[in-house]
Amino acid sequence: MSEKVLMCGNEALGEAAILAGVDGYFGYPITPQNEATAYMARRMPEEGRVFVQSESELAAINMVMGAAATGARAMTSSSSPGISLMQEGISYLAGLELPCVIVNIMRGGPGLGSIAPAQGDYFQATRGGGHGDYRCIVLAPASVQELVDLMQLAFDLADQYRITVMVLGDGILGQMMEPVELRKLPRRDLPEKTWAITGARGRPQNILRSLLMTDNQLELHNKHLQEKYAGICKSETRVEQFDVDDADVICVAYGIAARVVKSAVIVARDEGIRAGWIRPITLWPFPTDAIGMAAEHKGREFLVVEMSCGQMLEDVRLAVNGKAPVRFYGRAGGAVPTVEEVLEQIRKIAPVIVD
């Protein structure tokens, strides 16, 4: 086990990408993820790899597309407005089935908003802000260590499924420092990238295209994508649970918000309230089954906490499917819920149990 170092999330995600063997980083500065771009500007050339500061996020995602098309591991990172500019590109990446990793260190919105931490891009990430039917795998780390580990998983998932993996954190995750072990995780057994465009030597030409105009090709392609997505749902859903079994109130939150909520749940238990906690680690695929199962238990209520006006809320409601009441507490536009605020909500829902 390597030693722990104190590192901010933005730098740690860069180092994790290097551990994962990223070949090219393409990005454009934006707060609160700037340390990532700066870190890569320094580290990538040290590793003999490619760093390009693109002229825009639009260019960045297209550079990623080009790099990924050659079979290289490619990534970009940005924050909310920059990710919005990538939506056309992301839809193309989905259509072309090119693997890559996009980091979104979210800030307050809409518009220029603020540089304060937020979780307002959940819909964009999980539903596809671009056009057409497609999905990205969305990973939501809650600590710098988890960020380091999930970044590496992200590259593997991307290659395994030929898919865009988005790592979604908020400004705090990017800025905060925590001790991390920069451990290199074992790489999955991955398929060869026979589809990559590298020069048609000794094989027929490879074509990467998303325009499919004849013979129902595009519908077949969509079917193929949907099947792939279904497979990912089956195999790659991740969730963390805590004190759920006997809970009267189950809190659902992700990322930094989940840590605030966990503190609240711990205090609530101390107060004699049977609170539990579910933290989706993959936002897509969403842990629908875990939450659905938790909802089977009669008399339970759910509390969704987000740094947004209620976006994951919809996924929780879809998972619960009317079997239990689902309440919501959110702070928006860069504000962060406090332990005390969440506790207040928990107290409203659940009775104190005197054992």
């Binding site: 905060m176 420092m177 925590e178 001790p179 605030v260 966990k262 332990v339």
Partner: protein, 191 residues
């Protein structure tokens, strides 16, 4: 060192140029090196330069759930604006280190432990005019008793950028002066 289960939540606040970010990182690094669980969040404000800066440090012997500090158990304030902003949030029974050189008003709380340290004066006397942060940190560490100034001094090279390593000695001296001030004036509170 403190025994048993504990959760120390610190806010360090001051002017942009006062080195509160460095003090926070140093505190976090030291605690980490002592095998404690830690987290550190800098506040990044809208202003390019100037304005207030602050950071949140959580130290615990259990893994840190919430890294955000809303009601700190300890507060280090380096200027008046910070004092006004954060004093109400300090937990009852908490510890406040106040930079007396730049703050000429009272804390207005009698349910806390208040340490008034003329941080800039002390630093200036040691010919380290930017060392007020170290004075305050030395004072805090000494009073709080989770870490020692020697722990902190040992970690300084990890946190200070290489190009400033020529200031290590001066900064350690300044740090210890802060500790000494506390021992001299507030011996009772030293844990």
């Amino acid at each position: 060192m403190m025994a048993g289960n504990f959760l120390e939540e610190v806010i360090i606040a001051g002017f942009g140029g006062q080195g509160v970010i460095l003090a926070g990182k140093l505190l976090t690094q030291t605690a980490m090196k002592k095998d404690l669980k830690v987290s550190y969040i800098p506040a990044y404000g809208p202003e390019v330069r100037g304005g207030t800066a602050n950071c949140m440090v959580v130290i615990s012997d259990e893994s840190v759930a919430c890294p955000l500090v809303v009601s700190p158990t300890s507060l280090i304030v380096m200027n008046k604006a910070s004092l006004l902003k954060f004093t109400p949030a300090l937990k009852s029974g908490g510890l406040m280190v106040m930079n007396r050189t730049l703050i000429d008003v009272a804390a207005g709380r009698d349910d806390i432990t208040l340490l008034e340290v003329p941080a800039d004066d002390i630093a200036l006397k040691l010919d380290n005019p930017r060392g007020a942060n170290m004075v305050a940190l030395g004072a805090y560490v000494t009073a709080r008793g989770i870490l020692t100034v020697d722990d902190v001094a040992a970690c300084m090279p990890d946190v200070l950028a290489k190009r400033y390593h020529d200031t290590l000695e001066a900064n350690i001296k300044t740090l210890k002066a802060g500790a000494a001030y506390i021992r001299e004036h507030y011996d009772a509170v030293v844990s």
